[in-house]
Symmetry: C2
Subunit: 366 residues, 2 copies
């Protein structure tokens, strides 16, 4: 709970932001308020959906497992998508983004993947899920776990207003009982199971999967560990926007890849070198070509909505929050089958500026 007076003061101090979405009044925390972290959502009666906490990353199984765990833990697959918290309020299901906004896209699509009966039985349940696939409005890449459109993978359960996650056993039971779509579960391991987890991560790497989230039995303690291939993949899907992302996006993944390769030496190192080089150069080459032909560098996102109003709300949100420079296609949203398809571009202004100047033959000082 965050009481009305506390919330109003937080809003006045710019530590919270009051928002509304299709009749739902709520606030998102921009900073810690009481014990709730940034990204938490405060509903109109003061009930709080806690922010989804950052998960610490280990980069070495051999050193990380014994250092981080002293009990058996569960290995769940980490799906490369974006994180939402889903709940039902006043009879309607809403999906909140990591930052605490209602996500118009997710809210529109989530009912396709869930039986709402789960909220009849468990009205205060909050589903923490990854939405992934080639057709999201946020991601440049996709995951081999979703071939078309999007899919949803529940990986944690919370209860409204209660800190922390449900224990693993309770989560598994509830998910099975209500047929919730789960992120793949790869079993239970001990901190000494370096070899078995090494085999598992290399298998996931070969499949193009992102990695694992390791969770203690009580659900509270966790660490993530990703494949080398996911680092190369991340670099590849974003190299087109090399100058428009924080450089740490790239340097972190390069370091992570190097540590992964030292622990899991590849059979064909030359192939890995080539993949990494291609990941960087293919996107950059596309950017050069776009700059030359269109005078701009951008990525086109495509996603589909069940309801036209959902698409309109998504457009309004993007226009209101701005963020990166976005340009909606003129005939969007357009009807396709029973869906409304939205297409828009994100413009990479730093890439366009630098490449435009280079291709115009200007002198640059660096």
């Amino acid at each position: 709970m965050i009481d009305h007076a506390t919330l109003q003061q937080a809003i006045a101090n710019e530590r919270a932001e009051a928002l509304a979405f299709d009749g739902l009044e709520y606030a998102r925390l921009l900073d810690r308020v009481n014990r709730y972290p940034r990204g938490s959502v405060v509903l109109s009666d003061g009930a709080v959906v806690p922010g989804y906490p950052a998960i610490g990353r280990i980069q070495s199984l051999e050193a990380g497992l014994p250092r981080q765990f002293d009990q058996p833990f569960w290995a769940e697959e980490k799906i490369d998508g974006y994180n939402v918290r889903i709940l039902r309020r006043d009879g309607r299901i809403h999906a909140f983004s990591r930052g605490g906004f209602v996500c118009a896209f997710s809210t529109d699509r989530v009912p396709e993947f869930l039986d709402p009966a789960v909220f009849d039985a468990e009205p205060d349940l909050v589903l923490c899920a990854e939405i992934a696939g080639p057709d999201t409005p946020y991601l440049e890449g996709s995951t081999p776990r979703v071939e078309h459109d999007v899919d949803l993978f529940v990986f944690d359960l919370m209860r409204l207003g209660e800190p922390g996650f449900l224990p693993q056993a309770e989560k598994f039971a509830l998910m099975e009982r209500h047929g919730l779509p789960a992120a793949p579960l790869h079993g239970q391991f001990t901190p000494q199971d370096t070899d078995a987890l090494g085999r598992l991560i290399r298998q996931l790497d070969a499949e193009g999967a992102e990695g694992l989230v390791l969770k203690s039995d009580d659900g509270q303690y966790r660490a993530k560990y990703v494949t080398g291939g996911s680092c190369i993949n991340d670099i590849g899907v974003c190299s087109e926007q090399l100058l428009d992302l924080p450089p740490e996006y790239f340097t972190n993944r390069l370091i992570r890849l190097a540590v992964y390769l030292a622990e899991h030496p590849p059979r064909d190192p030359a192939a890995v070198e080539r993949e990494l080089g291609r990941a960087l150069l293919a996107g950059l080459d596309t950017a050069v070509e776009k700059s030359r032909h269109d005078g701009r560098v951008s990525h086109t996102y495509r996603c589909r909505f069940r309801e036209r109003a959902g698409a309109r709300r998504f457009i309004e949100h993007m226009q209101a929050t701005g963020g990166r420079h976005v340009r909606f296609h003129p005939d969007t949203p357009r009807r396709e089958g029973s869906y409304w398809v939205l297409e828009f571009e994100r413009l990479f202004d730093h890439m366009a500026g630098t490449l435009g100047s280079a291709l115009a033959g200007e002198r640059q000082y660096d």
Copy 2:
């Protein structure tokens, strides 16, 4: 000229720094003073060695040549080394770094490469030169133009106190007359000679050379243009210190490489991809191994001095100016033939910290 009062005021305002080197009193400019740029050197009588100006870079021959030149220009080879300005003062030859310090290493070695008689005939001459090779105290990599130790390549001439460079014809004549070692000259071209210059740069690329500096006949207007291979090479020699260099070091070279490859499509794109991947991964792998075995990540530099006093002055300068964390080897300088060999390490503290934590199995938040 910068008169005494102006210089004293600049020193008081921290726009200049008073220094001494083995009896030579001088000041270096930290900021523009009168019309002289940062890096200029003020001698005790007020005579000024102008700072060596940054040279603008073109990234496209096709667009850059007609945009930057409307007259024929000279193409001189750009040698991958470090820049010094050399002059004789009170009977002694000194070499100044880009920042305006006397460089103890260069000052010690320069007499091996020059006949000092040039300064008898031209007492106010300032030689602008690149010092390059595998054994410098500043560079991680080398150039195919120098196999052992170091070598010196004069590429511009100035006169003490006079702004700008000597015209090309006068420079060539003086350099020939005095037998000054020149950076390779690749001839004169017109702004329409895109094809010929394209062939030249691809030839240089195949030889592992860095690139070209294009100069107008009067010597004042110039632009540089480098090979794709030099971008990969730069990345390769510094990937070990990925987190200790500004990220722009890497992103600039990636962009430059992509624009180069778009204008000069390689015969074997897969080979270039692999070279780039290897440039990144080989250095990172070395860093991981060093971190694992030594608990630190560093690069060892080796250079040799004619005089033991030169080596001592170099050590004093490094200890006084600090900069990146340096550790001199305990038995250094040591006698080797007629030289004194200095060995020291630069420690890459960010790499060591990040890799140490990763290899210790800590959880990292990024």
